[in-house]
Symmetry: C2
């Protein structure tokens, strides 16, 4: 059995785990990131988490086969650093991989958080029986990861899977640096919350409120739900015609309300495909808990 | 040196060539397809073209390493047949590969015409220095092909690259069985011709007329040109955020008017990318003559 360390570095929390090649978790440490302290301080925190993992199952750190780290933003796989780091001050260009490699003498691989979550689902989770998986996370924002033959497709510049910037409503709402009418601006948890608040004010705290009110008969929330399904299915169909994955795996916080939209999403998606594709590309809910850290741990395994 | 036979089977013409692994053409036969005679008759025509090729350079057919065939529509790579064959009656499900394999005792591979054109560009043409290439053909219709590590990504169902069905104008024009507002309906040669005729009638014969009149100062044609650039750049940006190819190669008849839109297309495309991607994914005009037949010949080579 081989053992790997996975790190899920987020703007709020950082999580480090020890897993075996089947995804079984043996040790698990989670702390606040304290990103405001800067990159050096956060890297020290990560090193301490690694040192404090209980690695008895493989005879200590010497028995670990590699380290993987997932980060929130596009990455330079070769240089082992982040290209953009909006939530992690000082991390743009910071040599994450070489720092950990020097400290622990182990292979270290980096990738985007959505890409590694997709890798976890493709190798161990809902997509494990499929050769090609497109993972989409719909949460505050929208992200994705394309996994082909159990390997992350990072793209030439590390931006593969950045599907939150795909245009689904030309000339639509502009969120941050993304395109007007991007998937993130029109069909994310944030989008639903923003749209719901504009109509119902403080009655809306998060996307789940919009779905709940729609179920309860609120017509305006029902319209927002319909727009969400239309936009999200457009995103999925556009990806399907670009790479034709064997399945989609869909995760993220918005999936907590899946009961309120799933059936219609599947129908709307299939209606946007060529007849020969219909009902032949399954949409699967994600399965893996801590998929960010578990998928990060799968990076060194799938790069071997 | 290895030698391959490539077949470009279209609804109007069928072309068969003998090339070496560098794409040099040694023999070349082109005839009308006469698709209306049915699949058996067309297959006989193809077999005769193969028999009539001048294969002296490799000591006859026995010196050929494999056969590839490109066809107009999505394909089942494993079964070696077409899944949809709108312009080739009787070819849906017809065992093209096994028929040729039995006749000539050579490996035979099939793929979509846009995929093989992309393969030609990725292996021998404008994309030959790049590990990942997304090829787009903008002609009567819009098609594409994703080539990763010099191999066609066909997708789970053989529909990868069917980017003509990507939605770029939700609720837009409906062309054939495609989605309303598909790339083919909004940003193809046909779309420009249709839109131009609606305004200027018989003054418009093909997309080139729209571009020419726009150059000459016709404001309505200038608006159609702007819409085309906006739509086509949306298509390219959406694909870029899905797989982040190292380059795009763009071919097809509309490229004959490239002087009238290229510079603005490049600018509009880059404006729709994340800052870190801008001016780093080149758009390259296609280079290979007879890319359908040449790319088909590359199929057995890249599958070896």
């Amino acid at each position: 059995m081989k053992y790997y360390i996975g790190i899920d570095l987020g703007g709020t929390n950082v999580r480090t785990i020890l897993v075996d090649e089947k995804g079984k978790i043996y040790s698990h440490i989670k702390e606040a990131t304290h990103a405001e302290e800067g990159a050096d301080a956060v890297m020290e925190r990560i090193k301490n988490q690694i040192r404090n993992l209980d690695c008895d199952v493989c005879g200590g750190l010497a028995g670990v086969n590699g380290i993987g780290i997932g980060v929130p933003g596009p990455i330079d796989v070769k240089k082992g650093c982040m290209l953009m780091a909006q939530n992690l001050p000082g991390f743009e260009g910071y040599p994450i991989c070489s720092t950990l490699r020097r400290e622990f003498g182990l292979p270290v691989h980096i990738n985007n958080d959505a890409n590694v979550a997709g890798l976890a689902e493709a190798v161990l989770g809902a997509g494990k029986d499929y050769k090609s998986v497109y993972y989409i996370t719909c949460s505050t924002g929208v992200g994705g990861g394309y996994i082909l033959d159990r390997k992350v497709v990072s793209g030439g510049l590390g931006y593969a899977g950045e599907v939150g910037n795909i245009i689904i409503v030309p000339g639509g709402y502009k969120s941050g640096i993304r395109n007007p009418g991007s998937a993130e601006a029109e069909a994310s948890g944030n989008a639903l919350t923003r749209q719901g608040k504009a109509i119902l004010g403080d009655a809306i705290d998060h996307a789940g409120d919009v779905f709940r009110l729609a179920e309860e008969g609120n017509e305006e929330c029902a319209r927002l739900r319909t727009n969400f399904i239309e936009g999200f299915s457009t995103l999925l169909a556009n990806i399907a015609h670009t790479v034709d994955p064997e399945c989609f795996v869909i995760g993220g916080g918005v999936m907590e309300s899946a009961d309120c939209f799933w059936e219609e999403l599947v129908e709307s998606f299939n209606n946007k495909l060529y007849p020969g594709m219909r009902n032949r590309i399954p949409l699967l809910p994600s399965e893996i808990e801590f998929c960010g850290a578990v998928g990060a741990a799968m990076l060194p395994m799938t790069m071997e």
